[in-house]
């Protein structure tokens, strides 16, 4: 391995969170961003080709060394580390809406889900998966929510753009079906 790849490995080993590319580049000011990217590729290949128990992953807005999935069960069985709890369907629905519509207020989330989401928002906030990103200018100045880097990390996403665009989903709202959709005014005003 090149010295730069070793340096990156050391930094990634020491970090509890994904390290963004810019931070990795600042480890060695002599190296160009391109050289850092090349060194990352080298390190990733090193892990993949030589058969390591860990791998280099790009996610959550940065790079991180993670254990390989095949060892998860043994690691958890021996209580070396604990897997995070799965989220409930209600929590996932709420997160999905926030991920696409952020910044979004509680009322809008409730309108899409059709249920009250106060307690779900609180739990998700406690788990660090969403954050209050501002206040709406509308009446009552409700809080606006957005997802956090930890959300990306927990769902193995590099960045939000990795989620399919709304028009790429199987059920795209625009141009869907033949019924008169979207033209109807809110009938419960």
């Amino acid at each position: 391995m090149t010295p730069l790849a070793k340096l990156l490995e050391a930094a990634l080993f020491a970090a509890p969170r994904p390290i963004p590319l810019e931070s990795l580049a600042s480890l060695d000011t002599e190296s160009s961003p391109a050289a850092v990217s090349a060194a990352l590729d080298e390190l990733r290949e090193h892990y993949d080709v030589d058969g390591h128990g860990v791998e280099l992953v790009e996610q959550g807005g940065g790079w991180q060394i993670l254990t390989r999935a095949e060892y998860a069960e043994a690691i958890e069985r021996a209580q070396v580390a604990v897997r995070p709890q799965r989220l409930s369907p209600a929590a996932l629905e709420t997160l999905a809406i926030i991920a696409y519509r952020q910044p979004i207020g509680r009322a809008e989330i409730e309108e899409i889900r059709g249920v009250a989401v106060g307690s779900v928002l609180k739990s998700l906030h406690e788990r660090g998966l969403l954050d209050i990103v501002g206040r709406s200018e509308s009446i009552g100045r409700p809080l606006l929510y957005g997802t956090t880097p930890q959300f990306l990390e927990q769902f193995g996403l590099r960045h939000l753009e990795e989620l399919p665009r709304a028009d790429e989903l199987a059920i795209a709202l625009r141009g869907a079906g033949t019924a008169v959709i979207g033209s109807a005014a809110d009938d419960d005003a």
Partner: protein, 249 residues
């Protein structure tokens, strides 16, 4: 779509958000009915679906009843609107179901994202990262109140003890308690006076074993009905009284 069986499991395992029902809301239930009935989402037979919806909410015992009832009311209104006569070939007629269809599609689209997140989250759960969290170095102001947990205190004591090569050991002499003796003392005091205070029973320089003996003797005698113990407010002096009933006997 999340398979219903999976969601049942998840609700049991998560403990995160307790969901009594298998449905995450009225739209979820509605979509499930539309699927079960195999009807076209763009041409929902409102009367049939509304009826089914009402039947399901009454049997499921759903906890967020208000959200479901609101949807039930909406369905019934749409059903009524559908029954209104309309002129043939009227261009301006708007399908009363349009808004509902829009919401259902929007909801279904979101559920597609849920599937994706679920899938990604599940694979990520099988990988562990490093979990070292740096200790925050906090320089406390000089007069800050001491705040530390019992564990921290014990760890500190442990560290101090380990620095001395030969810790001074204190020899513990076992002393047996003298409950019987203490009971004798209490009886003697109560024979002379009706009421006594805890402080009357133990001397100023009583040793721990004596205090414990008196305490156990008091509890024992209270159990036997020889005396009564009262404390009129927290941390007040404990009053010891001859038991009126045993006195009368």
């Amino acid at each position: 779509m999340i398979a219903p069986s999976f969601r049942v499991n998840d609700a049991e395992n998560s403990g995160f958000v307790v969901e009594l029902s298998h449905f995450t809301g009225p739209l979820d239930l509605l979509l499930s009915l539309i699927r079960d009935e195999q009807v076209d989402i763009y041409d929902i037979p409102i009367a049939r679906i509304a009826e089914q919806f009402l039947a399901r909410i009454s049997t499921l015992g759903l906890d967020e009843a208000a959200d479901y009832l609101e949807m039930a009311a909406r369905l019934l209104r749409i059903k009524a609107q559908m029954l209104l006569p309309r002129a043939d070939g009227e261009e301006s007629w708007e399908d009363p179901r349009a808004e509902l269809v829009r919401r259902l599609l929007e909801y279904q689209q979101m559920r597609e994202v849920v599937d994706l997140l679920e899938h990604r989250g599940e694979s990520r759960r099988h990988q562990f990262g490093r979990r070292w969290v740096p200790q925050a170095v906090d320089i406390m102001p000089a007069n800050a109140p001491l705040s530390l947990s019992l564990g921290e205190l014990l760890a500190a004591v442990d560290r101090v003890l380990r620095t001395t090569k030969e810790p001074t050991l204190h020899e513990v002499v076992p002393r047996s308690l003298d409950v019987a003796g203490a009971m004798g003392t209490i009886r003697a005091v109560l024979a002379m006076r009706r009421n006594a205070r805890w402080t009357d029973l133990i001397g100023n320089d009583a040793e721990p074993w004596q205090i414990l003996s008196v305490l156990l003797a008091l509890l024992e005698m209270a159990k036997l009905g020889e005396l009564r113990i009262a404390q009129h407010q927290p941390f007040a002096s404990v009053e010891i009284m001859r038991d009126a009933i045993s006195e009368a006997a």
